[in-house]
Amino acid sequence: MENKAKKRNIIWEFLHGCRAMFLLSIFSAGIMALADMINPQIIRMAVDNVIGESSSEYSASVMKIVNYFGGFEYLHRNLWIMALAVIIVAVIKVAFEYIFRVSNTKASETLVKNMRDSLFKHIEHLPFSWHMNNRTGDIIQRCTSDIDTVKNFVSEQLTSVIRIIILLVMAVSFMLPMDILLTVIAFAPMPVIITYSFMFHKRIGKGFIKCDESEGVLSAMAQENLTGVRVVRSFGRERYEKDRFEKHNEEYTGLWVSLGKIMSRFWSTSDILSGIQVMLVVIFGAFFCIRGRMSTGEYIAFISYNAMLVWPIRQLGRMISEMSKAGVSVSRIRYIMDSEVESDKPDAVKPPMNGDIVFDNVNFAYENCPQVLHDISFSMKGGTTLGILGGTGSGKSTLMLLLDKLYDLKEGCGKITIGGVDIADIQSDYLRSNIGMVLQEPYLFSRTIAENIGITRTDITLSEIREAARTACMEDTIADFGKGYETFVGERGVTLSGGQKQRTAIARILTQNTPIMIFDDSLSAVDTETDEKIRTALEKHFRNSSVILISHRITTISKADKIIVLDKGRIAEQGTHEELKKAGGIYQKIYEIQSGNNSDNTIREGVV
């Protein structure tokens, strides 16, 4: 129960800004239903009093209107007035129908927008570890199809159910005064129809899930065949693939056919049921007419009301059974909204960031994983350059994730300070916007090159972007693209090579001009010459920044003021290039291999 209350709350929050619209749409639906109720009354009066000579009783106000138009006699001679009444009612109805459609869409699309906006914003502010622990495809599904399900729930199912109920209530209130017994007869089969439809849709839901799953398998099969086309062809397995696909395709089709059989049976059964219901009303109504219990006009009106109910009643069962799906989607969305976003300590500070960076006895392990960093302690003076050398999996990238507060250090696992301030006490956004980091496999956004380079700033000029691109040796490459800086990157545009991506990412942080710069193996895909050129340009550019260079190329880091050699999560050596190259450790070995000649001896010694 408590859970249910919570579920409602989150939708209620998302409904912010569109509640009035929803009320308007429901109100319009009410007016529409009311208008629908009036037409049969006009017909009834026309048949009974205007054309016929029966003398049904009408309320005083109705008689007032009739008399205003000159009484039944006059109306008989001027039937156009009755027709005009139908038109006027129609105008009111369609006006509200229009309002209903627009306000309903406005409300539900605002709801969707609210959901999407808050989800997106929330996701962006979730900690990095959350992103690592959750699968991209799954999150995207929650953000797309689950939102659609909730939207349909509110805008279609809920609205329809409300509309149907309004319609039912009104129809009953118009039908009852005409003939109680006939109303009872008309409504008697309805619970059966609704229950039958509800039960059916509940059951058929499972069939749909089965079909969906089967389609998923078939789709995956096609996907695998297409991505593995080289394997298929080179093993000459076209026939096998074709047979396999066709076999499953047949199974999938078979599922639908049997589902189709059940559905058709349901449709035709409920057709018969509602057909019988209509027949009951027609026959008993005629019977009552003859008996004088009701007038001809009332009989026609009654049949009209009854006809209005047939479809909604049949739909009601489906709506109710489909509404249960929404609950699952809401809880899937809640999962994201309930995850805690990153937050700073209440008294987080913004100290100057050009001070010394100190790692003090840092130990770190990813969740449910063995420890990756062991007792890391080192310091670098502000404005100097630090080189980090390490093999694959040595933990060098983890160090930088910690410095950027993408992961937090646990209590008692050491600390990291910048200018003497523990980074745990520094505002995350402030810290990160003062650290420019280029990753080994940089991520570019699907926008133009210029937008990608200038993405961190709003006030950037094209000449600044050009300047950054020049420093990152990207200028000529960009010029080669058809549209220069306006070239679109990614899915809809040019695919950049690894080296080009790295250089674009470097240009991107150049525009940030931060006091701390990290290059995490970010020149690995650039050839040696360009690497050299970029480094020289960077040195000029960042004389005052603290620069951390991570690489497995000695030439990249040899000029650093200090070098750390990281091996399996521990610091193996530290010092300057001059010191380390003679220290007789790992660094010296690598130095000798990399700087040395390419004689076969060294290679064999080094590699095999």
Partner: protein, 601 residues
């Protein structure tokens, strides 16, 4: 895309689908007949009502009541039965045609050459097979049945009305052309706005994708808020466009309902006098006049549906009309069989000699020769390594040897005869291909191992696994060979997948082996295992290796160095090094990376 969509097919492209419908002409006919039956009952009910009013109420008698009930019940049951048959058949036709279209697309794709795969992304091709086909099936079943139903109802009700009162009928029917004209105006704008909404929607999905996969970068750049603002711009746009669409749809629906009320008003105004003598006839007219608008709406829906589905039909038929660049000649198929039905009895044993004779080659979508007058003899057992940077065009030679592409000029000889003299399948059955990123199919390990040779025995499998030392990988798994590998092999590590794919290649007992080496980083032990596995499988075979590993390069009988799509140097390792050319620098670069990892391990 838009350019291609412009040259439209006549009749919304339905002609292209007719051949697929032919098979189902009997049940389609049954569906149509039952649909007509259904609409007949819809026409009958107002007539019954007329009778009840005119006869029972008007004449104040119940003399024919049992008969009336009988007829009514029979009609209701009849309606139930024909509805059942027509709905079930429509469903069956829909899914059957979808199935046939999917099968046709899928098997056609199995014969298309690699140039098609290079020019179209997997996602694009995939939606040709899965999405386009689905929409087409719906069109030719439900739309058709609805059409039969609605149009016959329209015709039937007009006929009945006309028989009773021609003058009033003409007045009422006059509304229809007006409505159609009005809707024609709406429809274009509706289609446009719907397309815009779909486009924005996919942009938003793309934004989610970017916001989630790019989370790390977004955080390091501290542009969360900027991304959110950007996102909100798109959702704002979505809201505006949707509301715009709602205005149009609202106008549309309102006009519809207004027209139906107008019809009612006309009946009341010009036909009210009928009620004086025959109330039933009057009430029947009202029912028909209002019911007539539904077919009109169907017509409008149907046209917009035809227009959108036309695009699917065009895409589908374009796929089916794409011809493979590489085809076997009729004589070859006659002798050796085609891709699906090989005649293995006629297949010669393959030896494994390959020779390029004056080969010039240009990719079908390229504009420059990447090979000119290339000559190379690869006798059986020779080991060739191809090196070069990523994207330099190292796959070209492999593509030619595998006959994934054919030379523009010159010929490639397999065992001394032009490759085109034998079937593709003949050649492919002799080639083992191991990919850079190993591609496993979902299923068990055994199924994957048997992929290249379904007749291999358990001993063959064990032997192959041992050769590449993948037997330990299997031993670790609870279910051994019958363990599931997951979609794309995701339940195994990269290294494990690599070893399994080696074993798979060996089990196929190929004479020629093509190896696209991985650059992906695997742990040192796996790395060594993979290395020794490579040494094992290239032994006693003609092998072409797209090389990244230094030892593979050094031991190769011949190294081809590729740069910007062309072969710039060739020779043995020592000769090339001594040249101090491009190979030398490439090697040095490559070497630094390996050096550091070797020292650390």
């Amino acid at each position: 895309m838009d350019k291609n969509d412009k040259h439209t097919l006549p009749f919304f492209g339905i002609g292209k689908i007719l051949p697929y419908m032919k098979k189902y002409r009997i049940i389609i006919t049954a569906m149509i007949i039952c649909g007509l039956g259904g609409s007949l009952t819809d026409i009958l009910f107002p007539i019954y009502q007329r009778y009840a009013l005119n006869h029972f109420v008007g004449d104040m008698t119940l003399d024919t009541l049992p008969f009336f009930i009988g007829i009514y019940v029979v009609t209701v049951v009849f309606a139930g039965i024909v509805n059942y048959i027509s709905c079930f058949h429509a469903m069956k036709i829909e899914v059957s045609i979808n199935r046939d279209l999917r099968n046709a697309a899928f098997s056609h794709l199995q014969t298309l050459s690699f140039s098609y795969y290079n020019q179209n992304s997997v996602g694009y091709i995939h939606s040709r097979v899965m999405s386009d086909t689905a929409r087409i099936g719906t069109l030719v079943s439900w739309r058709m049945m609805d059409g039969v139903w609605h149009l016959s109802y329209l015709a039937g009700s007009i006929i009945v009305m006309f028989a009773v009162n021609p003058k009033l009928t003409v007045l009422v029917v006059l509304i229809v052309p007006f409505l159609i004209l009005l809707f024609a105006l709406f429809q274009k704008r509706l289609i446009r706005v719907n397309r815009q909404i779909r486009d924005i929607n996919s942009t938003i999905t793309g934004n989610f994708n970017e916001g989630i996969t790019g989370a790390k970068t977004i955080k390091t750049l501290v542009i969360e808020d900027k991304m959110s603002r950007h996102f909100i711009k798109d959702t704002d746009n979505m809201l505006t466009k949707s509301v715009h669409g709602a205005h149009l749809r609202g106008l549309f629906a309102s006009t519809m309902h207004f027209a139906s009320s107008c019809a009612l008003a006309i009946v009341l105004w010009r036909g009210g006098y009928i009620a004086e003598s025959e109330v039933g006839t009057f009430s029947m007219f009202m029912s028909y006049a209002q019911g007539m608008m539904e077919p009109v709406r169907w017509l409008v829906d149907c046209i917009s549906d035809l227009i959108t589905t036309q695009v699917n039909i065009e895409r589908f038929s374009r796929l089916m009309e794409t011809e493979s660049d590489v085809t076997d000649s009729p004589e070859v198929i006659e002798k050796y069989g085609d891709n699906f039905n090989p005649k293995k009895d006629n297949w010669e044993e393959i030896k494994g000699d390959i020779e390029f004779v004056d080969v010039s080659f240009m990719y079908p979508d390229g504009d420059e020769y990447v090979l000119t007058n290339f000559n190379l003899k690869i006798p059986f057992g020779m080991n060739i390594a191809i090196v070069g940077e990523t994207g330099a065009g190292k796959s070209t030679l492999v593509n030619l040897i595998c006959r994934f592409f054919e030379p523009t000029l010159g010929q490639i000889l397999i065992d001394g005869r032009d490759a085109r003299e034998r079937s593709q399948l003949w050649l492919h059955s002799a080639i083992g291909y191991v990919l850079q990123s190993p591609h496993l199919f979902s299923g068990t390990i055994r199924e994957n191992l048997l992929y290249g040779n379904p007749y291999a025995t358990d001993e063959d499998i064990c032997e192959a696994l041992k050769l590449v030392s993948a037997d330990e990988v299997i031993a670790k798994l609870e279910k051994g060979l019958d363990s599931d590998v997951g979609e794309g092999g995701e339940l195994l590590s990269t290294g494990e997948k690599q070893l399994i794919s080696f074993a798979r290649a060996i089990i196929a007992k190929p004479k020629i082996i093509i190896l696209d080496e991985a650059t992906a980083s695997v742990d040192t032990i796996t790395e060594q295992r993979i290395q020794s596995a490579i040494d094992t499988i290239i032994k006693g075979r003609t092998s072409i290796v797209i090389a990244h590993r230094l030892s593979t390069i050094q031991n190769a009988d011949l190294i081809l160095v590729v740069r910007d799509g062309k072969i710039v140097e060739q020779g043995k390792h020592d000769e090339l090094l001594a040249k101090k050319g491009y190979y030398n620098s490439l090697y040095t670069h490559q070497y630094e990376d390996e050096a550091i990892n070797s020292v650390f391990s």
